[in-house]
């Protein structure tokens, strides 16, 4: 092989190695956007810390527990609010499709900070305290969440199909937006509860 043929390969090889040596410096300036989606997870787990045994048929004056959790996949540390609300079957639920939160008042809330790709979790104990009932209607007057008493006075008509008085304890996830300097509604999860009025 002629020495001039070696020259071509040597030049190509050298340039390739020089590009490899320059890669760390290039990486400082070239930002390749991450292809992964940015989002927050919101979930509920039963008292056994599993996605099962959620409270559904609940008795008055008995305490029930769920775990509420959030995972941050936004790419930055986030400031969250979880608002706990209580409704009957007809009252407004949040609409996730157009990011509209429920207008019902917040009973209990969690405010917390979560790092990127990290999780937060809290235990929530609730108890239906005081109800009034007729054949067709039930009014839940008060309930407690984590030992804090709330007056709710929420009326529910008997559900003939499911034969019970149904309420929903739901959790709205709000995310703090630095630009607008306010919390914005993100998502929600809920628990349907069939309230029976005595142990």
């Amino acid at each position: 092989m002629d020495v001039k043929e070696y020259r071509g390969w040597l030049i190509v090889g050298s340039l390739a190695l020089m590009l490899l040596a320059a890669t760390p410096t290039l990486a400082l300036y070239l930002k390749i956007p991450s292809g992964s989606e940015r989002f927050s997870e919101l979930w509920l787990l039963g008292s056994g810390h599993k996605a099962e045994d959620y409270p559904s048929n609940v008795k008055v004056n008995e305490t029930y527990s769920v775990f509420v959790g959030v995972v941050n996949h936004l790419g930055y540390s986030a400031y969250y609010n979880v608002s706990v609300k209580f409704r009957n079957q007809t009252q407004q639920l949040p609409v996730a499709s157009n990011a509209t939160h429920s207008a019902l008042p917040t009973l209990y809330e969690f405010n917390f900070f979560v790092g990127n790709d990290e999780a937060w979790e809290a235990l929530l104990n609730f108890k239906i305290l005081n109800v009034e009932r007729s054949n067709d209607y039930m009014i839940v007057n008060s309930l407690s969440i984590n030992n804090v008493l709330f007056q709710v006075d929420t009326i529910s008509k008997r559900d003939e199909t499911r034969n019970g008085f149904y309420y929903q304890l739901f959790f709205e996830l709000w995310l703090y937006n630095i630009t607008s300097q306010s919390f914005q509604y993100n998502n929600h999860v809920g628990l349907w509860l069939n309230v029976t009025d005595f142990i």
């Binding site: 030049i11 050298s14 540390s77 630095i178």
Partner: protein, 149 residues
Amino acid sequence: MKPSLVLLILLVFASQLLVAETFLIGEGYATSSSTESEESVVSAYRAALETEKAGANVSSLLVKLNEAAKFLASGRMSNGSADFDEATRIAREVENAAVELKDSALSEGLQRMVFTMTASVVGMALIALGSLVVWRLLKNRYRTNTLQK
């Protein structure tokens, strides 16, 4: 009516007004503490975000911010100014720590950049020099082989 009786009635009336005003001031103080406290926490969060963007690990700041958030929540439940004050104190600590951490992260980032660029330049130079040496050796060897033939 005796002047002393009129004076007494006026004094009683004035004392009622004074008490009412004290309650109003008390409520107003608790409300502004809540707002101030929330603003402090948000300001500290913004500082932590800036620090994170600069490349620092802000886990310790988030732990403290969560402490502040708990005091904030506790203050809202009980309307206690002591909790709001504690939340504000922690938030200010976080904000100061965030500024220091950001400066440190920027300085480390700059050092890292200088080191990386220097290493790349030196690497490229060594590769170019090495290629030249290899080329010279190959050329000499080819010349020697050709002459021997």
